[in-house]
Amino acid sequence: MFVFDIVKIGTAIFLSLISGIVVYLYRGNEKPLANIRCYRIIGAAYAVGITTIFISKYNGHNVPLFLVMLSFALLLQYVEFLSVKFNYQGRHSLLLAALVLSALGIVIQYHIGQNLTKFGVKFPVAIVQLTFSSLGVLLVLLPLFSGRLEKVVNFVADKTGPLFWCACSFILLALPSFSGSAAIAGTRSWVIGGSGQPSEFVLKVTFPLFLAMFFYAKSDVLNSPDALVNFKITAWLAGLAFLFFFFPLVFIQRENGTALVMALTFLVMITLVSGRIYYFILGALLIALSMTVAALTVQKLGERFIGGFIYWDSFINKSYLDGSGHTPGFQLFKSLAAVNGSNVWGVGLGNGELGIPVVISDFVGAALAETLGLTGLVIVLLLLYLPLKEAFRYSISGFKGLFRTGLSVTLLIQGLYNLSGTLGLLPMTGIPLPFISYGGSGLLTSYMAIGLIVTLISARKEANHV
């Protein structure tokens, strides 16, 4: 009974502190002292969450792991120290949002408690998540606070063009095919023996960069009232995007999830830039039609789409493809079963029966929803919305406006699609939840995206630059 109360109290304190941070971030009225307090509050919330799980799930065992997990709270204080040391004058809201999401991600992975083997050594997933979150924080925030990231952005904007990033992206996406790494779940997306996913870097950095550069270069044409001229340039852009981004993703890597997020990002950006809402409607119909045709013609996609989404309850115990042994509806069933009964506050940190396949990455949303309930889900959604809200506060014209909007849209779409797949609203296609899903490349590139958005917002006053 006492342990159960600790779960309730610990989870309540954790959710309260995190909710307070989210409310402060949405007020949009940053104050230096309040920002510093936020870093401390996130650290405190994180420590409470980890301690609750240590007591309720681990029963006080594995103290070294617990102590290592607490080090993230110290890192947050170090970040606060760095921002003061470098006299950082930019906005803190998005950094704080990223840190809250990271803290949530590490807490959830610690709660899940799975291990994995990398390069022959067994690690708790939570340690890997902590390591990459810490790396992401330091590798991005140090250049951001020192002003070097802004110089890099200016250099890239001045010296490179859209075709350069097309070529770079194509090379990065083709790299896994030449690296000798084996396919995982039918997807050849990783380099260096199953680690390192170049498609994450392309999705969250080079693709939005390419779009921003192209839109800026052709802004006069895109703003033209002549619909035919507008359509021609859109078709040219779609052709380039297909050749250099979608083709290697779908036909070389077989990474359909990333291609889908890119397609949705493209759709949103072309709608915003052209101002033509019918582009969005037509594009959405085209994407839906493509997915349907793919599901009907490619058996493996049909397994995921029809067996794992539309008729999932018929394939919980039954194979869709003869001889495969895969029961495609089982994963969604376990995910929805985990959510069933979690209500507004969830079952609490350290509680919950998981057993969901791939719960550390694709279906981490189910673990989040089970333990923290609707409250946890709303917190994550609000934090994912924040970059776009900040980007929309300012003009989206100009290279920097377009780039920060593209980055924000990509992060948001990735998060929304993952949660939709977890809850059976859309077919799941291996898209991670930013900052929360296990994955080093995903974490590092998510931090990169946030760092770039913050840099571009801080530099918005240079309206005439590029």
């Binding site: 052209s274 101002g275 376990k334 939709s420 609203l425």
Partner: protein, 94 residues
Amino acid sequence: MFRLNAKIFISGVFILWGVLIMGRFLLYSVHDKEIFFSAKNSRTYSSERSPILDAFGEPLAYDKPGQGRIYPLGPSGAHVIGFVDHHAGPEGLR
């Protein structure tokens, strides 16, 4: 004007998407669908099942807290304690 409308439209789409996600969560959070009470859902049974023993008292299946059901003989004991076939489902072959 067009661009402002597009911003509002896109914001509306994303907000609607988020509302649908929350609605879907609430639907399945309170859903009383029979399927969630099936034996495949480890959350529906919280009490430990009894062990299955052979004639010599050796366990053929038992519950271990935190690890679920343990089958010491693995697949070779399936003909004694039963199994689930992926093609035929939980009812098995008749």
